[in-house]
């Protein structure tokens, strides 16, 4: 059994004049100690997916259907009380902007100790010792001093180290990291990402990494999901997708990466932009930007088809597989 199994998750936003669908039919799994990448443009629903796992979607968003099975228990159907025992304890989160994540009027120590005391019946002193240990693990200089400092006294990189330390406080099974380095200076992004990966590996924590950076995903994750307009359009082993992307959108994303060692080469661009939630096109949401689009694509959302170890939702890919199969049959 997978550690985390999301089945057919639907998330909607209740707004004036009806609901907007933010996530539709999201299904994926995460195994113990696995590193999973979640990529897509901004607005594709990556963050919504990340936050919906612990039911932390901002209002007016709500989970409209599906299951989120963590060790077999459905988080989507759990009471707030039960869910609280899992948040921060079994599944920890790392937010995007370390400047906004820590409470400006409470000391680092307070914010670390309270997280421990929310889940463990131990003394403040013991909790403080754990906090200190985790600060040492994230290699923060003079950790003892940090406990009594306020967030504004720390740099962005240090704050993100603190947040990683908080994520590790209670030895969680899963860490969900929502663009953990995007808000940082480019020079320290790699440093923080290395730290996070090393610690996850050391402690055997599963990592769900949300990012728009295909480069990072290809380097650090074992499996990846590609999201577009609230749907997963392709998922499978990272290496297979990067080397041989099936979905036209994924291909576009990969072609849009600047190629190393090819100075002067034109950057590829996917024409158009992702539709807003308010006017998602019928059928395959990518069809207005897709050069392979047919009338069929406008009519209905394609089902997933399997190509190698990759699941893809695309009629064109399905057709190709079908043709290949027929050719093989014809040969034999």
């Amino acid at each position: 059994m997978a550690l985390l199994e999301v089945k057919n998750l639907d998330v909607r936003f209740a707004v004036r004049g009806g609901d907007l669908t933010a996530l539709r039919g999201i299904s994926f799994t995460l195994d113990k100690g696995e590193r999973l990448g979640l990529v897509g443009e901004s607005g594709a629903g990556k963050s919504v997916a990340a936050f919906s796992i612990l039911n932390l979607i901002a209002k007016p968003g709500y989970i409209a259907g599906g299951q989120i099975l963590f060790e077999g228990r459905d988080l989507a159907a759990m009471s707030e009380r039960e869910l609280r025992k899992i948040r921060g304890n079994r599944i920890a989160m790392i937010f995007q902007d370390p400047m906004m994540t820590l409470n400006p009027v409470l000391t680092i120590g307070t914010q670390m100790v309270e997280a421990i005391l929310a889940h463990r019946k131990i003394s403040k002193k013991e909790a403080r010792a754990i906090a200190l240990d985790r600060l040492q693990k994230v290699q923060i200089p003079s950790p003892e001093k940090r406990l009594d400092q306020y967030p504004h006294e720390l740099s962005g990189g240090m704050r993100q180290r603190v947040i990683i330390a908080i994520a590790l406080l209670l030895d969680p099974e899963i860490i969900i990291a929502d663009e953990p380095t995007t808000a940082l200076d480019v020079t320290i992004q790699a440093e923080i990402m290395d730290l996070l990966l090393n610690l996850c590996e050391q402690e055997n924590v599963a990592l769900m990494l949300i990012t728009h950076d295909l480069g990072v995903v290809s380097q650090v994750t074992q499996r990846m999901l590609v999201m577009y307009s609230g749907r997963i359009i392709e998922q499978g082993p990272t290496r297979e997708i990067i080397n041989d992307a099936q979905h036209p959108y994924t291909q576009g994303l990969i072609n849009a990466l600047p190629q190393m060692g090819e100075p002067g080469a034109r950057l590829f661009q996917i024409p158009g932009s992702m539709p807003s939630l308010k006017n998602v096109p019928t059928g395959c949401p990518f069809h207005p930007r897709c050069s392979f689009a047919t009338d069929h694509c406008k009519r209905a959302m394609p089902e997933y088809v399997r190509s190698g170890n990759v699941d893809v939702a695309c009629y064109e890919v399905a057709n190709l597989i079908e043709q290949e199969k027929r050719m093989q049959e014809a040969e034999s």
């Binding site: 936050f51 899992i86 921060g88 304890n89 937010f95 994540t101 009027v105 409470l106 929310a118 306020y150």
Partner: protein
């Protein structure tokens, strides 16, 4: 800390200088002190002699410096009406106003925080909507009108006979809308306790407290809706912030999130705005004290205006200016102590 104090004190001196200049200009430009001091029978020559003697013919700057020099020594001239030092008159009236302001402030703090927080946490609850509706209406009612309605209801009393008296429900409704009245609505009562100096307090006797009720409720009524709306708005904004969502992601209990993480951040802007509101409250004491004939500074000031008691008007302006300067400094100091991102140098770190 020292730098902060020096900066604040120099600012305060500057503000007091401007206020004293305005106050003196009023004194200089307004009315003729001679008219108040001597009768109609005095001849023009005699008047001129007295003017010269009093220094009223000196240039503006000389007169101002004399005025300022005396003011620093605590001499703001004699009140025409009371025929004693204006500051002494103010000292006699100050305690009544202070007790009124303290009573109203306590009511505001102990009601606005819980109501504002509740309305922010449960914006959809009918009780929240009720509180917000009442405060919208409350903001539109001038303080003197609230005071008049309170007097009608709880001092004079209202007898309602709109419903048929021979049915049980009619009688019940009539009784429900009928108010007894009887609460005092005039002055502070006779049963005051002498504390020290000029401080006669009404806080320690049943009669004194009874006299405080209606004026305090009136004064509080104008600020309460403002504070409820302010606290609710700030709290709702704070609740949207990333660090609150992060606190939830850490698995903290709702109580800790709302009352520590959110409330502490909510109170920062509320403290600043609250400091400004103290100034507005002083203005409202003039209205409240007029309605209730409360023998405080506000009533004294208004009477001084009708009596053209210029030294007393000027002294009032100076003292009120001083109160503003002191409270604003205190508010900044408290803000600096509560907000860790402000170092007490007056600048954001």
């Amino acid at each position: 800390m020292l730098a902060f104090l020096v900066q604040r004190i120099s600012q305060a001196v500057l503000v007091m200088f401007v206020i004293s200049l305005i106050a003196f200009a009023i004194q200089d430009g307004l009315g003729d002190p001679l008219q108040e001091m001597v009768g109609m029978s005095v001849s023009a020559e005699e008047r001129e002699a007295i003017r010269e003697e009093l220094g009223l013919n000196d240039p503006f700057l000389v007169q101002y410096l004399r005025f300022a020099g005396k003011a620093v020594q605590g001499d703001l001239g004699n009140s025409y009406f009371y025929s004693k030092p204006a500051l002494e008159v103010i000292a006699e009236h100050l305690p009544a106003t202070l007790e009124l302001v303290i009573g109203a402030s306590l009511m505001i703090i102990f009601l606005s925080v819980p109501i504002g927080v509740y309305a922010a946490i449960r914006p959809q609850a009918w009780l929240s909507k009720f509180f917000m509706g009442v405060s919208t209406v409350g903001i539109s009612i001038p303080v003197f009108l609230t005071a008049i309605v309170l007097i009608q209801l709880f001092s004079i009393g209202v007898t309602v006979s709109w419903f048929p008296d021979d049915t049980g429900w009619g009688q019940w409704l009539n009784d429900f809308f009928t108010t007894e009245g009887g609460l005092p609505s005039y002055g502070r009562g006779d049963d005051l306790v002498h504390l020290f100096g000029t401080w006669e307090s009404g806080l320690f006797t049943a009669e004194g407290l009874a006299h405080l009720i209606l004026p305090c409720v009136s004064l509080a009524s104008i600020m309460l809706p403002l504070f409820i709306r302010l606290i609710r708005a700030e709290m709702m904004e704070v609740l949207q912030s990333d660090y609150i969502r992060y606190a939830r992601a850490k698995g903290l209990a709702a109580g800790r999130i709302n009352f520590l993480h959110a409330l502490k951040n909510t109170m920062l802007p509320v403290i600043t705005v609250g400091g400004v509101q103290i100034g507005i409250m002083v203005a409202y004491t003039i209205l409240t004290e007029t309605v209730f004939q409360w023998p405080g500074l506000g009533l004294m000031f208004l009477e001084a205006i009708t009596r053209s008691d210029i030294p007393l008007i000027v002294a009032y302006l100076m003292v009120v200016g001083l109160i503003f300067v002191i409270t604003n400094t205190l508010v900044d100091l408290i803000y600096g102590l509560v907000n860790p991102t402000v170092k007490l140098t007056g600048k954001k770190a």
